[in-house]
């Protein structure tokens, strides 16, 4: 037995000595980042997959957006679509319903030519395999033809507005790399599943960077692509780089660690929105610059219009009047966000309609209560104790009754839990209190995200909910998905169950409109219809706050959704 003891003591001493050696002699190099033209970017998670067709998370997309490029991208100033891999605007033949597009001379990162065949191949596999998130962009396309090496023709079954905004912004993959993979997947009983399970260890792209090394769970190293088509060219006024040797994505498990790393200089850019709580310490650091950018986000309260009392438009308008969005921005988002009155955020300048009904706009608390009381009273609601007394003074209301005289039953506002999104959970609490002030028996209940989605989207078993989209597409095609009656089905996007024949007709027409200005008018009208019926009450759109170090790199390009964009990475230069 003494042998065990001696062994234990010996091992203990060896481990302690080894640790001491590391501490005292600093065997590893200092962690302070040295530039060497290498940009270090902090992220919270590593990519889940580099298979473009599988990856759906934001962290994978950060890396993939450096590799795979689309034909058109949004420019930084006005978020307009500009040719990227395309050489110019597509030529539309209305008679034949075709678009013909010239391609830029470009090369893949393995040095081979990028051709029309690659574009045709990409479109065809998306259609054939019905690739999630992509296939709806190609479902209305009859055929894609390579006219010559650098010309491609899209033959449409029917006009579709999203062709320009979404089909042409689909990333293009290399035929050479994928055709073997696709051939193998076709042999499988479940071809899509087989395609999604393909490991892509060395993705070949046309973007400014290419994958050099991925140390799983720790860092992703991307080096500048020597064949990048934009190198040295001026696109939208930017002389394209990249001017840096590469990018290293470093994984940090928490925002605390990432912010400390930014301050310490271990990273040059933390590619995630920084929470307001960190801003005071960062603002005082002269080596750090903060960029506050608008976002294309929508956070909202939704009703279940399939059941009473939420099928009553007057009630929904009254609830919209009571909610003090300014207060939510000020207290919960600590001022870093904008109030939303429409389901299209103001950052989407082309389609945003500022002239929708703005419930409670400019009103204080008492004015909101009085206005909501007025709306509900006119609709036949009554109270045991009304929110406004005979002298016109606001008081604590009690027991609201529906127009038929029945008391309003307790209803639940479902929110994601605070550890998933504290803003939405806290907004639910505030809205609960405002509704109770009106005598409405509201209860805010946080629920695990998966369960919430299943209840709201899958089963339609809910009263109200607070959800949001952090990065909505700039194409407003989602207005049709969110409120068209055809989408009012289990797992459909019309979670509220809003139905209107007039809305359906206009939404479908807008999705088929090829004239941008005509479509814009329709989208403006759709916003008015939605905000009159208020199946959703848009609440807020948080701003993105990103931090960079100013001592090593310069040239960040700010646009909608922040500075983490292809323009920045093609423009930044070492100091």
């Amino acid at each position: 037995m003494a042998r065990h003891y001696k062994f234990a003591c010996f091992t203990c001493k060896v481990v302690a000595a080894a640790l001491l050696a590391v501490v005292l002699f600093g065997l590893a190099p200092a962690s302070q980042a040295a530039s060497n033209g290498m940009l270090k970017v902090g992220v919270l998670e590593e990519p889940k997959s580099l298979n473009l067709w599988l990856a759906s998370d934001a962290w994978s997309n950060r890396v993939l957006s450096m590799i795979y490029q689309p034909l058109f991208v949004r420019e930084p100033k006005d978020s307009k679509l500009v040719p990227w891999l395309a050489a110019g605007e597509p030529v539309y033949d209305a008679g034949k319903m075709t678009y013909t597009l010239k391609l830029r001379p470009a090369k893949w990162s393995d040095g081979t030519d990028f051709t029309a065949e690659d574009v045709v191949f990409t479109g065809k596999i998306i259609k054939e395999f019905k690739i999630p998130r992509q296939s709806s962009k190609f479902s209305f396309i009859e055929d894609i033809v390579a006219v010559d090496k650098h010309t491609v023709r899209f033959e449409l079954k029917r006009p579709k507005a999203i062709f320009l905004t979404r089909t042409l912004t689909t990333p293009i993959v290399q035929k050479k790399q994928w055709e073997k993979v696709v051939a193998e997947a076709r042999k499988s009983e479940k071809p899509l599943s087989a395609l999604l399970r393909q490991a892509v260890d060395h993705p070949v792209g046309t973007g400014p960077f290419m994958l050099a090394q991925w140390k799983k769970g720790v860092f992703v190293y991307m080096k500048a692509n020597p064949y990048f088509f934009g190198k040295g060219q001026v696109i939208e006024g930017y002389k394209m780089g990249p001017y840096i040797k590469g990018i290293i994505f470093k994984v940090f498990g928490t925002a605390d660690a990432a912010v400390l790393a930014l301050r310490k200089g271990s990273i040059d850019f933390y590619w995630n929105s920084i929470q307001a709580g960190y801003l005071d310490q960062l603002k005082g650091d002269s080596d750090i610059k903060l960029f506050v950018s608008k976002k294309s986000g929508l956070y909202y309260l939704g009703f279940n219009l399939r059941k009473a009392p939420f099928d009553d438009m007057a009630l929904r308008q009254a609830v919209a009047t009571i909610i003090d969005k300014e207060f939510i921005i000020k207290r919960i988002l600590q001022g870093y966000g904008e109030v939303l009155y429409s389901v299209i955020p103001p950052g989407n300048t082309f389609y945003y309609n500022p002239d929708v009904p703005k419930y409670g706009y400019g009103m204080n608390h008492d004015q909101r209560i009085k206005k909501a009381y007025e709306i509900l009273k006119a609709a036949g609601y009554s109270w045991e104790v009304p929110p406004v007394n005979g002298q016109g003074q606001v008081q604590k209301a009690k027991d609201i009754r529906l127009p038929d005289g029945d008391p309003m039953k307790e209803f639940v506002i479902l929110t994601p839990p605070a550890d998933y999104d504290p803003h939405r959970a806290m907004s639910g609490q505030l809205i609960q209190e405002w509704l109770r002030a009106m005598g409405m028996p509201a209860v805010s209940r946080p629920m695990a995200f998966g369960a919430l989605i299943q209840k709201v989207k899958g089963q339609h078993d809910f009263d109200c909910f607070i959800l949001g989209y952090g990065k909505l597409s700039l194409d407003p095609g989602y207005l049709r998905s969110f409120f068209h009656s055809a989408m009012n089905k289990a797992n459909g996007w019309n979670m509220s169950g809003y139905e209107s024949a007039a809305y359906d007709a206009l939404a479908t027409e807008s999705n088929n409109a090829m004239d941008l200005n005509l479509r814009r008018k329709m989208i403006m009208e759709l916003q008015k219809i939605v905000m009159t019926a208020v199946p959703y009450i848009p609440l807020y759109n948080p701003t993105i706050i990103e931090g960079v170090r100013v001592d090593r790199f310069t040239g960040w390009v700010q646009m909608l959704d922040g500075i983490g964009n292809i323009w920045s990475f093609c423009d930044i230069k070492p100091k």
């Binding site: 640790l19 190099p29 998370d57 709806s136 399970r197 090394q213 470093k250 400390l260 989207k457 996007w493």
Partner: protein, 323 residues
Amino acid sequence: MRKYVLKRLAQVMVILFCILTILFVLFRLAPGDPVTRMVDPEMTPEESQHLIEQLGLDKPIWTQYLIYLKNCSTGQFGYSIHYGEPVAKVIWEKLPNTILLFTTAVLLSAMVGISWGKIAAWRKGKATDLVLTIAALVTHTLFLPWLALLLVWIFAYQLDWFPITGMVSDEVWLDPTAGFFTKAADVLYHMVLPLTTLFLIHFGSYLLVMRSSMLDTLKEDYIVLARAKGLKERDIRNKHAAPNAWLPVVTSVGLSLAFSINGGALTETVFSWPGIGRELVFAVSQNDYPLAQACFMLISTVVLMSNVVVDVLYAYLDPRIRY
């Protein structure tokens, strides 16, 4: 002994089968599925349905269960829904990192804890005992993420002695001239803070168990006899008392070692340590059934087997125990 071991192994197989079934049922009872929770307006309901069919999630639950049992019996845990890679590959990429950190932490905590527990018991009621016992209680009850962040803030940010977080330095791993020892030293350098955190949190429990066990042993007649024989105090402590106080500690260390493959989501998150704990949390939260089931199966198997090993070890450590 052989009969006993075979009997225990048979029990393990039955328990494993039960665990397999419970895991399957639990994950299917959890609301949502991996596709429904992809809240992306660009995903149409038709695409969702197609994906569900392709992933085999539309099959009747019994069919899914039979496929699952068949896969488990052949050691095939399928593909992770989110990584698109074989589950075994995903686990294997992270498991060594977890074992390296957590098993080292358990061993270090156990060795120091046992050693100090023995000393504390020997000096019961004196200042050494008081200091060690209070230190054990205080560190053992600290909130791990708080302690971890405090250490990072002091030693990594303020003093700049260690890296903020992570497992390796990209400078070293991207340097073509860096050899094995340089890389190993780099990992060790990154391990210091997480290891210190885990050590501080865990050594106290071993210390207290050992102290308590040792105090019981010191009351035994053979200790009185040893003293009566005039043996040296050190020999009585180390050769007569300590070895007999080891038994309860062995159970504790054995199970901790087994659970160490589970990692720790909090530690791994705070220190950005790419281990299995974070994967497990991710898999459960994202309804990645194959990955989550395989992680739990692995943990269950190791824990059950380690129980068998600990029982066998008992007989070795204490010759009075016979099966």
